[in-house]
Symmetry: C2
Subunit: 201 residues, 2 copies
DNA sequence: CTCCTTGCATACGGTGGCGTGTCTTAGAAG
DNA sequence: CTTCTAAGACACGCCACCGTATGCAAGGAG
């Protein structure tokens, strides 16, 4: 995942910690397979082969393939979107939407489709994604909006439920449904012509 | 599906026409399986069993499972959304968004997820969906917007690319990504507080 | 009434993934 | 140096699905 496990030191102290090199290689293999063949391509055999290990290793750490998928994809999605205070509502929203745009354009974008496509058949993945990624995004957007209200950039009675998802909804829609391009012009247009008029004081 | 095939008359004339009762039963079986188990659950064997027929029948009419899926799902999606002239931009948009909302709430909503989830691995499905459903929706929205511009309800320079997808993007996003409820209050809110201000003259 | 065409269901070999049992090897303790 | 323990690789049986070849039944032509 993120904290890169500072290789040298950690290995020196304990010979092999719980989630270490091997586990990381497995997650990487899963990610590769998702990108190449979608969630359906993530079989235990394929993962084992790709990670240069064997199936018993996988079954030792994860109950089944669904659990392995969950624990690989959800953390990835968590890291995709920046959450920084740029000092203005416009700047914050631009940063966030550009984060989504970059995510969709990157190979990791396939993770988004994989999760969405797998959720209906995997309630646990759905719960993990919604309680993890979505809930966290909502929280982050709530903070962004609260800061903007404090600054007087956004009207205090703006409907949070809608304001927080309006921008990313268009990007997700293009990415998943229409396949239309997501340009930076589109992002700035959304912010300046839709989000700010809608939320503006 | 929708038009109930007026059983008596058709059977009387030609004993068994090309796409008739059996073919319809097969499509129904595919739909059931998609709803119950997602696109991955649509195996040739399961379809044959569910439709009370056998695999050779399926292979006689469709080259492979992807073709069967395409020819079942795409027409369904085409029938989902109304395309009527209500006489006003607000009325048109309310009708369209309510059409999407009803579609998502119905069992057929699963078809939406199935298509989105399967597109990355099935270029032909993606092409069929985008050249069929999406292109047709774009055209319909273009007509709706043109009428609205003629009536003076919408500014002539409104960006079509964004205006036509803005409303449904929020609904798709809730349906696929967040799982948040899609209420009629939300629909009217989107129309009155977002679409009309954005596109208004 | 018989033949023949048409079209379906049953049955088959082949493949690939699942989940697990067994053996081997490498590191820790005595 | 020897023994013990733990972890991983190999291999197996199982099952579901694929795609096709074969045998059977029903309706039209002679």
């Amino acid at each position: 995942m993120v904290e890169a496990s500072d290789p040298g030191a950690a290995v020196a102290t304990t010979r092999r910690r719980r989630g270490s090199v091997l586990e990381q290689a497995i997650h990487a293999a899963v990610l590769d397979l998702v990108i190449e063949q979608g969630a359906a391509g993530v079989t235990m055999e394929a993962v084992a082969a790709r990670a240069a290990t064997s199936k018993p290793v996988l079954y030792r750490r994860w109950a089944d393939r669904a659990a392995l998928l969950r624990e690989t994809l959800v953390p990835l999605a968590m890291d995709a979107i920046p959450h920084t205070d740029t000092g203005s509502y416009r700047g914050d929203m631009l940063a966030i939407l550009r984060g989504w745009a970059d995510f969709f354009a990157s190979p990791h974008g396939a993770v988004g489709v994989a999760i969405v496509g797998a959720m209906p058949q995997d309630p646990e993945l759905a719960a993990a994604f919604r309680d993890g990624v979505i809930a966290w995004r909502k929280e982050a957007m709530a903070e962004t909006l609260t800061r903007a209200i404090d600054r007087g950039e956004v009207r205090p009675d703006v409907p949070f439920e809608v304001a927080r998802e309006l921008g990313q909804a268009v990007l997700w829609h293009r990415f998943l449904v229409t396949g239309d391009p997501i340009t930076d012009d589109l992002v700035t247009h959304i912010v300046d012509e839709i989000l700010i008029p809608y939320a503006g004081a």
